[in-house]
Symmetry: C2
Subunit: 200 residues, 2 copies
């Protein structure tokens, strides 16, 4: 890992735990093992570190969105398998909510959304707007398979989306990122999904 990468790594860990303002340049440098002026060789600002992190996150997200779009374009198949395995588990959980870098970025955004307009927008997009749109796409597919009417689907998506937010808050917010928590999260998601499918 280069010095620059090390700085970003340490900064992300600290920012996501204490918040951007509460972490000083000296905190970061102390942990990395460099002097402050060295940091300023790699980044022009304190804010530049944060910007580099959000830029990296944006790239990661864009990659994920492309993958998801491809999957949603695949021909229709058995409903439950489609939702349960491919979409939620692989992408939403493995590659996003519980993927180490994204996980820390989400925590960071949760904190900084109140202090930083740009981050508020990014958080809104990546945690609300985008997932909602994807979930809408999924449930419309399910409606086409005859699980429920398209009109019902719209309400079901809203309920589902609200419930996922609650779970995300519950499992992501505080505490370490353990395999246990991930399993607990996935179990609750599946449980909810089953209830939805038997409701329509």
């Amino acid at each position: 890992m280069t010095t620059k990468e090390k700085i970003m790594d340490v900064a992300l860990h600290m920012f996501s735990e204490r918040g951007y303002e509460a972490v000083s340049i000296r905190d970061i440098c102390g942990e990395v093992g460099i002097k402050e002026s060295t940091l300023y060789y790699h980044f022009k600002n304190k804010k530049d570190i944060l910007d580099s992190l959000t830029a990296k996150f944006r790239e990661h997200i864009n990659g994920l969105l492309c993958d998801v779009d491809e999957i949603l374009d695949e021909p229709l198949t058995d409903a439950e398998d489609f939702i349960g395995t491919k979409m939620m588990d692989k992408y939403m959980v493995e590659s996003y909510l519980f993927e180490p870098f994204c996980n820390l970025m989400i925590r960071l955004m949760m904190i900084e959304q109140f202090h930083n307009e740009e981050i508020r927008e990014l958080y809104e997009k990546t945690m609300f707007t985008d997932p909602y749109e994807i979930q809408m796409g999924i449930f419309m597919r399910l409606a086409k398979l005859g699980a429920f009417s398209e009109e019902d689907a719209k309400w079901i998506v809203r309920d589902y989306h609200a419930y996922m937010n609650m779970l995300t808050y519950k499992y992501l917010l505080n505490g370490e990122l353990t395999e246990e928590r991930k399993q607990g999260y996935m179990r609750e998601v599946h449980e909810y999904m089953q209830r939805v499918m038997s409701r329509g």
Copy 2:
């Protein structure tokens, strides 16, 4: 309004918008129109201001909880009127979420939950644990009136709770506290409630 009250008022407005750390003693004093040393006559610390605010909030909340408990002990009556009017509108909305002081305190807690353990607990209690318990009480009453089974009620409460959290986030988080927003919030709550009642 005494100087002490003025300090708390200004501090709450500033804290709830920018966060505790981002507001300096000088910011508060400048707005109130006093010198820093005067503030330290009324409060021993910067943190003492925050503590006084949370103490005041705790008292307010305790009063509300007593009122709600009394209502939940009243004999059963027509379901829809009970829920729609008395409980949600009067207490949850008028005396809590959209009551000026509580509204700012909630915003403050939303921000500070990440920087302050005590506030995290208070936020968890007043926005999740307590409301969930109250909502459970309400839906159990509705179940007794025959709207749905007690087993179904447990799931319905979870869905309802998740949905309310989403609405609260949507309507409380950013922007001013206008009558319009309040009406919008109440409309969505009623809309959801009607859906629930026609679902069981």
